[in-house]
Every structure is written in C-alpha cells, then in structure tokens.
C-alpha cells in the first residue's frame, strides 16, 4: 500500500498545477476571492479543506469521499457543478481526483483572504455635511431648507409658495396626530398630544407587522398582542430615544432587572406568524419565525434585505449566507414566553375566585382526572423521546405542542412544581383532546370527558383571569444553528455561532442585546439614515431614498444625500430625539409649501423628487375612518387598550376558515382605526380596501391605490353612512337657520375652509333637488355624505 501511495504521490505532483488551473478556470469565478457561493473558496488548500456550508470540499488522500468530486460527477441533491458551461471532462475529473488522492498539494500564490465590502453610500460612516449656501436666504427657516433650495437653485427651479393657513393646519394635524384640526392646535401642542403616539405607531406597526391573530390555519386570536401596540404608543408619546426604542424591542427582556414594560417591548419579536394546524411540522414553523425575525430586523433597522441571504449569499449586498445564519443563531437562542402581567384589579379578583374555580373545575372533569393525568403525561413524554414507539401517542403529543404555548416546558416540570395555570393548561388539553387510546389503556369504556369542553370554555370565560403579555426569553438549552443549505431547514450544513455580518463589523455578539447595541452603535451608520428617511417619508409621501426598505447597493441613490446625512447626524447628536427630528422637518419652508401640482415640472420632475412642492397624500386607511368619525362627532378618542371589533358584514363571515368575530358594542364601536382587531387571514375589509398591508411580513411603504371598492365603501358602508347621518344632525344642531350656514359649517368641519361660490351653488342645487324628492333630512344626509366622499376629504394636501 505504502509503495502504491508513494507512486501516486509522485504521479499527482505533476497534476497539482493542472488541478489548480481547472479550479481557477471552472470553480473560482463563484468560489474564489470575489465570490464565495455557499461559503466556499477553492483558491487555497486550507480554504478548500475547510470547505463551505456543506462542510469540507476536499478530503485529502480520499477523492471518493470528497464533496468536490461528487459535485462535478454525479451531483448532489440534483445540483451538478459547474452550473454553467460544459460539465468537466473525464480527463479533468481524473486530474482532480488524482490530485486529491495525492494529498492535494497546493502551489502557493498570493490570495486576498478578506471579502472586500464595496464602497456604497449607505455603508459609509456618517459625517455631518456643511450647510450649503443659497441665494434666497429669506426662504430658509430650518437647515433642511438650505439643502433643498440649493438643489432647486442649481436646477433653476423656483420652489412653490407656502400653502394657505387652513391647508397647512390640516396637514400638520393629520401628519402629527392623525386627526382633523378641530379644535386647532399649534405644533408644540400637537407634539405633546397623546394622539401623537397613535399616529406614529401606524407606520411602525406596519414595519413590525403587528397583528391580533396567529396568521395561519385557524388563525387563533392573540388576546394580549395589544400589549405590544400599547407599548409602542406609550414609547412614542414619551419620545423615548430611538436607540433605546430599538434596544427594548429587540432585547427588552435581556436588560438588567427588566421591567414588565421592557418585556412588553420585546413583543416586537412576537409579531411572527404561528401555525396550530394539526400535523404541522413545528421545526418548519420555528424556522420561519426565526427567519422572519432576522429579515424584519434587517428591513427595519439596516434597510437591508437580509432575507435574500437565507438560501444563498446575497447577490448584491455584502451579506453572506453564513452571516444570515449567524444572526439566525442569535434569535435561535430565544424562546417565546407569555409572562403574567396583570392589569389593574385583576390580581385581587383572580385570587378571590381561585378556590371557587378549582371547585367547579373538579366538578366538571371529575375527581378521577388525577388518576388519568399521570399516564396521559407519561405517554406524551415517551412519544416525545421516541416518535415510532407509540405512533398514536405521538400524534397526541404533537397536537399538544401545537396547541399549548410552552408545552414542552410544562411537560418536563414535576407536577408539584407547576403553577396552577400550567396545571390547568394540561387539564384543558386533556379535555380538548380526550384521546381514545387513553381510555383504552385505562380500561375505561365510555369517554368520560365527552361534552365537557364547551362547559370548561364557559367556565374559563366567566372566571377572572390574569392578563399576559407576549415576550421573549433566552432558552437555557438553545438548539444548535447550522447554515441551512438552500434555506431548507431539513438540510443542515456546517454549524455556526451567533455573530454579526462579517463585512460590517468585527464586533462580537452572542445574544439579542449585543445585536441591538451594535445596531445603534456609532460604528453603524445605517439605522440613523434609515430612520430619518422613514420620518421624511411620512411627512412627504416618499423618502429621500425612495426604497425606504432597501438601502443596499441596488437601491436608488438618495435624492438629497447631504440632507439625509445631515438629518441622520443631527438625529444621533440630539440623542436620537424623534420629536425633535419631526419638528425640524415640519418647521421647514420645504414642508410648508403648497402641494399644488405644477405643470412646469410635469416633465422635469414627475415624481417630485426635487421637492419644489409638497405632495397630496391620501389618508391612511385608519385615519380616513377616524376623520369621518371625528367630523361627525362620533369618534371615541380613548388611547390604548385591547383591540375592538366593529361589526363585520354577515357575508364576510363565510369567508374566514373559522371565525369568531364578536362585534364590540357601545363606545368601542367608535374607537380609532388603529385599535381595530387585525385578524390576519380575514383583515377588516374597510382597512384593506384602502391599502392596509396584510401584516404577514414587514412593510415599509404602503401602496396607495384608487379603486371602485373604495367608492362603494365611502358611499354605502354602514359606518360611513352613520357618520353622514351624524354629521347632518350635528350641522343641523350647531348651525340652525338657512342652508348657507349649514353648508358653511359642514365645509369647515370636513375641509377646514369655506366653499367657493361655484361649490356653494352646486351643493345648493343638489339640496334643492334632493329635498324635493326625499325631504330636507335626506337632503342633509346626502350633502353630508357627498362631503365625506370628496377626494379632498380623504386627502392630506
């Protein structure tokens, strides 16, 4: 054997050069210094032996056991290399195999081991630019104006005049608190208003993709999801510094002595979808959740489509697949928890009624439940350890895991260490599943729990419980993380440790808190740029970077790069002060311009990127509803609390897989749109018709469409009809006397201005015709309804 090997070695030494030239020509374009597809480099011996995400590419002295040879011959998982051009000839394969069998000697040459990050504006360090000079000094109110005006002057374009006072008031009110200017308030008051947090929570909840249900299959309600929404509103109202705002949402639970409030902030990570479908692969569900957490974090704070690197190295941005799974590993160390977080008065009521509950529970399920539970648990534990031993019990166990949060944890606890709540969860699952196999094993003939579930649910509903809040916690036994080949969680590649994207930093991170702190560290220029751009987008309709979700190398460059950097620097230096940033922008002459479309710019700047005017923006779906309720006097302005369910048309009910939509009553019917329960598979149609995203994934920009279903909604939806009736009655009440006075008041309430002569004439004519046909009251309603349908009413100008 020895002799043989020696001969082969001598033989292959001659091949080394040829092998290297084959690798250079056919492999290194994708697996070399420039690109490392699948994490693999084949331009050095050590790198090749170390291999990529699938492990070692070559196994020196053993070509038969080398991935490289398998890839270029029969292929792996249906993938043969090289993917383009002719397959390697048998002579080339022989060369490579012989070279490997000879120990794969490498003729050294200089290679650049680090992966260069391409120069790209968004990745450059943040530098505060100097303020540009402008000719028209009088136009400048805040530094923002210098950047905008300098560019307009360079282009020879005159800015637009200031919008009239009424338009400006309406604009400021909708932009800052999402309500019409009734009564009018100044900017300071608006920034202090408790409605500021409601207004600015809207885009943030789109980003977090907040929802009130699981999102999959039966789409179970999440009764406590609102605790996170309330946190967002409170944090925005308190003007929590954006770095703090970031850290608490990504890792509030990991802060020293974390408060319940901070744990609620981590509810950001609980906006992921869940499936409770029987037989669902829980590994898949978890994989999707972790992927979502990585991708959403990338979109929200880095403006990077990290999700692209789930299946392969990012095609355009310096994020490798390995980077993706290092971030994945950070989130993979956490588990979902739902700590008790009682609201005022709950604890006392709960404690007082606990003995009674236990008694009634016992009556319902019978005293023998204590005989059944031990076997029930034991079999589930056995089925967990060995899937094939009891196939039927395995189904029971898997269903248990799907239905019960924190299922494995409860099952592992010794019975006496369980809280009463945990014990109730087991009992509830027993009552719900009541598996025939259990009764068989216990020798019980008739299912003793038939019909008990409904009564138990009734009992649970009538019993004062303790509210929870969805949060996260570190898992004491986290699963290992592997690079998943082509993103398939059933194809694990090499193991990876938690960490940050290698081309952005050398800092280390082992958990979410490290990650969050790195995100808002001075080393990272992205979050400030991304955040100020989103604020700009809210106030102008589009960002300085149009693709507010993507700051990567394929994104369009910013329209005003210096302005973006000035705002971002200012933001960081102000201590990440969001309200101050908003103030800087809304005080500017740029913001205060008229939104009148200018025919002189139609060809030169059709998208108004140069900002020679403001933009007309249709109100967000939620605000559009708020506006109708507000002007008609119906709006309930209460802030915060559980979600509400306005009545749903009966015909909608048949569309959901299994819906339990119990309509709210009383004043709750008129809460702001922000509080409408978001059943992800059956979104409230009024919202989706006006472009509320489905909240299944992070959304950085809403589309703004115009379609006939919107017209039908504003004309015929009972809520808008009710608003028209209420508005008509209010006008009648507050402006008794002639039609002119009523028209004036209705106009002021809806549009914050007086009607033109032509408008007054047209409304008067309508009123005359309509009252002739249907009487004065109907004419008033028709008139009010028409105002609520106007493009001007649903637009912030």
């Amino acid at each position: 054997m020895m002799r043989c090997a020696a001969v082969v070695f001598v033989f292959t030494a001659a091949f080394a050069q040829d092998a290297q030239s084959i690798l250079a020509k056919r492999c290194q374009p994708c697996h070399g210094a420039m690109q490392q597809q699948s994490g693999l480099r084949l331009d050095g011996r050590a790198a090749a032996v170390q291999g990529g995400y699938r492990g070692a590419a070559i196994n020196p002295n053993n070509s038969r056991d080398s991935l490289l040879i398998r890839f270029v011959t029969q292929g792996v998982d249906g993938k043969k290399m090289p993917p383009a051009g002719p397959a390697l000839s048998s002579a080339e394969v022989t060369t490579l195999a012989a070279w490997i069998d000879g120990g794969a000697p490498w003729k050294d040459m200089a290679v650049n081991e680090s992966r260069a990050k391409r120069k790209h504006w968004a990745f450059e360090p943040l530098r505060r630019p100097a303020l540009p000079g402008v000719r028209n000094q009088a136009w400048v109110r805040t530094p923002v104006d210098r950047f905008v005006l300098a560019k307009l002057e360079a282009e020879g374009i005159a800015p637009s005049p200031e919008a009239d006072g009424q338009t400006l008031a309406r604009r400021l009110h909708f932009d800052l608190i999402g309500l019409p200017p009734e009564p009018p308030r100044d900017v300071d008051e608006l920034l202090r208003s408790p409605h500021f947090g409601e207004r600015w929570a809207l885009p943030w909840l789109d980003l977090a993709h907040y929802g009130d249900s699981d999102g999959h299959e039966q789409d179970h309600t999440r009764p406590f999801a609102w605790r996170y929404r309330d946190w967002v509103i409170r944090a925005l109202n308190a003007n929590m510094p954006f770095d703090r705002f970031t850290i608490e949402q990504l890792a509030g639970d990991l802060l020293p002595d974390a408060t319940l409030d901070q744990r609620a902030a981590a509810g950001f990570l609980r906006c992921t979808l869940t499936s409770r479908e029987g037989g669902i692969d829980l590994g898949l569900v978890r994989d999707e959740q972790v992927v979502d957490r990585v991708s959403t974090t990338g979109t929200v704070w880095l403006g990077l489509s990290l999700g692209c690197a789930r299946c392969h190295d990012h095609k355009f941005d310096p994020v490798s697949q390995k980077d993706f799974y290092r971030l994945y590993a950070i989130f993979n160390r956490s588990r979902e928890v739902n700590p008790d977080a009682p609201l005022d008065g709950e604890v006392e009521a709960h404690r007082a009624s606990l003995p009674q509950y236990e008694r009634r529970l016992l009556e319902l399920v019978g005293p023998r439940v204590d005989e059944w539970l031990p076997l029930f648990e034991k079999r589930m534990r056995e089925a967990r350890e060995d899937a094939s031993k009891h196939p039927v019990w395995r189904i029971v166990y898997e269903t248990y895991r799907v239905w019960i949060d924190d299922a494995d944890h409860i099952l592992s606890l010794p019975p006496r260490k369980r809280t009463s709540k945990q014990r109730h969860q087991l009992v509830r699952f027993l009552v719900k599943s009541r598996p025939p196999v259990l009764w068989d094993e216990l020798g019980i003939k008739d299912d003793p729990l038939r019909g008990v579930l409904a009564k138990l649910e009734q009992l649970d509903d009538s019993f004062p419980g303790i509210s929870e809040l969805p949060s996260m916690a570190e898992d004491p036994n986290p699963p290992r993380t592997h690079v998943l080949i082509r993103g398939d969680y059933k194809s694990p590649g090499i193991e990876v440790d938690p960490g940050l994207p290698a081309s952005f930093t050398t800092a280390r991170a082992s958990n979410r808190l490290d990650l969050a702190r790195w995100i808002v560290s001075s080393e990272n220029p992205l979050p400030a740029r991304v955040a100020v751009n989103r604020v700009w987008q809210e106030l102008f309709g589009h960002g300085l970077v149009a693709t507010s979700e993507d700051f990567g190398t394929r994104a369009e460059p910013p329209s005003h790069p210096e302005l973006l950097d000035w705002l971002a620097s200012e933001f960081v230096e102000s201590g990440w002060n969001t309200k101050r940033l908003v103030r800087t922008i809304v005080d500017s002459t740029t913001y205060r311009q008229s939104s009148r479309v200018r025919s002189d710019l139609a060809m030169r700047d059709p998208e108004n990127r140069l900002l020679a005017r403001q933009n007309r923006l249709r109100l967000r779906s939620e605000l559009l509803r708020d506006n109708a309720l507000a002007v008609s006097g119906l709006l309930n302005r209460a802030v915060g609390g559980p979600s509400i369910r306005p009545p749903l048309p009966a015909s909608m009910m048949q569309l959901a897989f299994r819906s339990r939509w119990k309509a709210s009553t009383g004043a709750d019917l008129y809460r702001r749109g922000l509080y409408i329960h978001l059943q992800r598979t059956m979104m409230f149609p009024q919202l989706t018709t006006f472009d509320t995203p489905d909240r299944l994934a992070s959304c950085s920009r809403r589309s703004q469409s115009t379609n006939p279903l919107q017209a039908l909604t504003l004309l015929n939806d009972p809520v808008f009809h009710e608003a028209a009736q209420a508005l008509a009655a209010r006008v009648d009440r507050e402006a008794p006397g002639g039609l002119d006075r009523r028209i004036d008041l209705a106009f002021r309430l809806c549009l914050n201005r007086t009607p033109t002569t032509a408008e007054r004439e047209r409304l008067t004519r309508y009123h005359r015709d309509r009252s002739r046909d249907a009487g004065d009251e109907q004419a008033n309603i028709g008139l009010a309804s028409a105002l609520l349908n106007l493009d001007e009413f649903i637009t912030r100008e």
């Binding site: 979109t299 899937a387 009966a650 569309l655 589309s703 703004q704 115009t706």
Partner: protein, 463 residues
C-alpha cells in the same frame, strides 16, 4: 430597456404611485389593459380549487398493483424519508375501492366517482405527476396559489391581473367564489394581492346578499338618488382637480363611475334566470346537491363572457383523514356534473379555446390508510400526500385528451415527467401570454415572481 421592460417599469410606477405623482388618470384603475409578452392562447382562467387534497388514487390514478399490497406497509425502498402530517411511513396500503373506466376517444381512465367528467375526458389533459413541497394545508395552499409556502406573496390571480389588467368595464378583474361549506384554510391568502397594489386583489363574490361588499345603496338611496349623489361628488371633485392640478382626482372620479356601473352589473351577473332551462339543468341547478358549485361554475362562465380575467372557485373541503368513502363520494356528487357542464358549455359557446380551466388541490392523499378507529373500517381515510398527485387542465392553450406523467405502481412517487406546482404556474401564465420569468415585481429589494426561482412551462401538455 426593451419595450417590455419599459412597459413593466411604467406599470410598476403607475401601480405603486397611483396616488398623486403624475400617474395618468385611468392608468392605475384596475391597471387598465396591458399587453402580454407574446400572443396569448387564453384570455381568462377558471381555477377550480379543490381545497384539502382530493385523493388521486380514488379519482384519477388507477393502481391495480395496490390490491396485492392491501393491508401491508409499502416497501421500504419506496418510502424513503417521506414525511406525513399524521401517519407514520409504515402505515398500511389501502387499495382504492373505485373502478376505473376508459371513456371517449382518448381513453383516459377516470374513476366511477366522476362519470360526468369521464364523458368529457376528451377535452382535458390529465396530469398524474404533480408534486408539491408542502405537506400541510396552509403552506400547501399558498404554494399552489401563490408560489411560496410563506404568507404574504401575491396570488396567481393577482399576478395575472398585474400582468394583463382586466377587460371588464363593469366588474373586478379577479373574482373568488366559495362552495362546500367553508372557506379554504388559507382564507384570504389564496386571493391576496400580497405586496402588489391592492387593485389586484381578488374580490370575493358572495352567493347570497350583496355579491360584493357594500354593493347595495345605503338606506334612503335608490339608484336615481345614488346617481344624483355621485354627480355631486363628481362635480365637486372636478372643481378641485382644476384647483390642484392633480390628475389622480380624475382617477377617483372614474372609480366612482365604475362603482356605479358595478352596482348595476354585478346583480345582473348573478341573475341566472336569463339562462335557458337546459343550461341551468346541465349545471345541476335543479338539484340541491349540485346547485351551489353549479351556480359558481355558471357564474364563472358568465364572468368570462364579461371579460373577467381570473376566476377562482374554492370548494372546501376534500381533507378526508377519516370517512373518505362517504365524504369523497359527496364531494364528487357536488362538483362532478357542474365541472363537466362548464367544459361543455364553454366549448359550445366557442369560449373554451380562450379560457383555461384548471382543476386541482394543494396536494393529493396517501395510498396508505389513516385509521382513526380500526374496528370500524368504513371510517378509513387517507393522509396528505404531496409526493405525486393529479390535476387536470383544459381549454386555452392546452392539448385535449392527453395524459401526462406517470406514478410508480403504488401511486406513491412520480415515475415519469414530474410536474412541480411551480411548473403548473409557469404553464398557466404561459397560456395567458406571460413569461413567468419576466413577470416580476420589486419588493424589499428583490424582484419577486409567482414561480419564485423555479418552474418551467410543461410544453408537453400544450396544444
């Protein structure tokens, strides 16, 4: 930029910034009419979505070999590392109790549960080798209808509308109808616009009450009063358009006109009394068993006549883990006659050549049994099976009387001509004149398409 790319970027621009950035007045409204990438065979699609997973070995894929293996586990070599929702891989074989017959010139074998379709089998291409990657309902349904198991991607109908717009002046371009007792498990996920503009979302039509949400006038308004009100809104909007110079207001005015026409046209569409007695009878409207699905099929034809681009009929559910004999027989009774009548009706009216009809579920069912109760054999069922199942296609661009693909002797895996659901999607778009690789939309920094990064047109089933 090629012409197509230019058209696409303009379309994206219009669609995304329909609200006030200089889009032409009507450009964004249901996206107007656009051009296919190449001449289309089909103008409309009717997708008969059989929710829950119909059993291919009991309907379309006869496996006499299974009789020999009845009540035994499948050979190990076959099972590989397949995963199921509930049963273990060593579950026992259950040979179908159906008889299969060849009918028609093409000699396609179809189960005795589907006598009406069997009589029309010369009109269809049966694909026996469809595969999906998803073993559970919701991901499976999203995979079939949206090309990805992840929620949030646009549905096939939304893509079709995005690519082609609608030809209907009075109706939405993508309509969804339900039958069978409940909505599909993936609910709105199968007709969502996803990240495409909301104008492309499917509009659910209800068979009772208002067919479209808020189609009826508010109390106190008859049609004349509605017209009066819309005229007022139009005139005031028009004055404001002149003041602001915003062309988008014209688009809003147009949307009110379309809404007004839809208010008249949608109820007229639902009024089946204008159809002849013979037509109504052929769809089974006279029988309570077939009336629901039959009405939906007939409505689908009437929508095709009115230029609706994509009609999705969801029939739920075929998910028979237990009591399969009884429940499948019932579903076949409900759907077989209407589906066959739809094919024949379209053919007679000369619409079959321009209408693509597709029948299929998110997966099939196992050749093995799922036993809930061993003492009662009549309760037998089958588990989910995405590894080989059947679909059929007919009409616009599809060959007639053809069988494509073969499964192994057990109906467990594909033996020849595997067709992934992405391939089905690519083929459907192809029939509509759309190249599935070119129909893309930029979202979160990436160009997305219906077929993700996979899929190729199944040329062998094209006419």
């Amino acid at each position: 930029m090629t012409r197509i790319q230019a058209a696409h970027s303009r379309r994206q621009f219009l669609a995304r910034w329909a609200g006030g950035f200089g889009a032409s007045a009507l450009g964004s409204l249901f996206a107007g009419q656009q051009k296919p990438h190449f001449p289309a065979k089909a103008k409309s699609v009717i997708f008969l979505f059989m929710e829950g997973g119909p059993s291919q070995v009991d309907l379309f894929d006869p496996k006499p070999a299974l009789v020999k293996w009845n009540d035994q586990p499948l050979p190990d070599s076959l099972r590989g590392n397949a995963r199921f929702a509930f049963i273990q891989p060593n579950a026992k074989v259950w040979a179908s109790e159906r008889t299969f017959r060849r009918q028609g010139a093409s000699g396609i074998e179809v189960s005795d549960w589907l006598p009406h379709l069997a009589a029309k089998s010369d009109l269809i291409t049966l694909v026996r080798s469809v595969v999906s990657d998803q073993v559970n309902h919701v991901p499976g349904q999203l995979m079939l209808q949206c090309g990805s198991p992840l929620a949030g991607r646009p549905s096939m109908g939304a893509w079709a509308l995005y690519g082609l717009g609608t030809e209907s002046q009075d109706l939405p371009g993508f309509v969804v109808l339900f039958s069978g007792g409940r909505a599909p498990q993936a609910s709105g996920g199968i007709y969502t616009n996803g990240f495409l503009p909301s104008a492309y979302q499917g509009t659910p039509f209800r068979s009772s009450g208002d067919p479209v949400l808020h189609l009826s006038n508010a109390p106190g308004f008859d049609r004349a009063a509605q017209r009066q009100r819309i005229d007022l809104i139009r005139d005031l909007n028009e004055q404001h358009r002149l003041r602001t110079g915003d062309a988008e207001i014209a688009s809003r005015v147009a949307s009110y006109e379309l809404a007004f026409r839809m208010q008249a046209e949608a109820p007229a569409l639902l009024d089946l009394s204008k159809e002849t007695a013979a037509t109504r009878a052929s769809y089974g409207l006279d029988s309570p068993d077939t009336r629901q699905f039959g009405s939906n099929c007939l409505l689908a034809r009437r929508m095709v006549e009115r230029g609706v681009r994509f009609i999705l009929l969801s029939h739920a559910s075929w998910d028979d883990h237990a009591d399969l004999e009884k429940n499948h027989a019932r579903n076949c009774l409900m759907t077989d006659q209407p589906a066959a009548a739809l094919l024949e009706d379209l053919r007679q009216r000369g619409l079959l050549d321009s209408t693509l009809v597709v029948w299929g579920g998110e997966f099939g069912r196992t050749p093995m049994v799922q036993h809930e109760n061993p003492t009662r054999p009549e309760t037998r069922g089958r588990d989910h099976h995405p590894y080989a199942f059947s679909m059929w296609l007919a009409g616009g661009g599809i060959a007639r009387g053809r069988v494509h693909g073969k499964t192994d002797d057990f109906g467990f895996g594909v033996a020849e001509d595997k067709v992934h659901v992405h391939d089905v999607q690519a083929t459907i778009l192809h029939c509509l004149g759309l190249d599935h690789e070119k129909l893309t939309f930029r979202f979160q920094g990436r160009d997305f398409r219906l077929t993700d990064v996979e899929g190729s047109v199944v040329k062998q089933i094209l006419a």
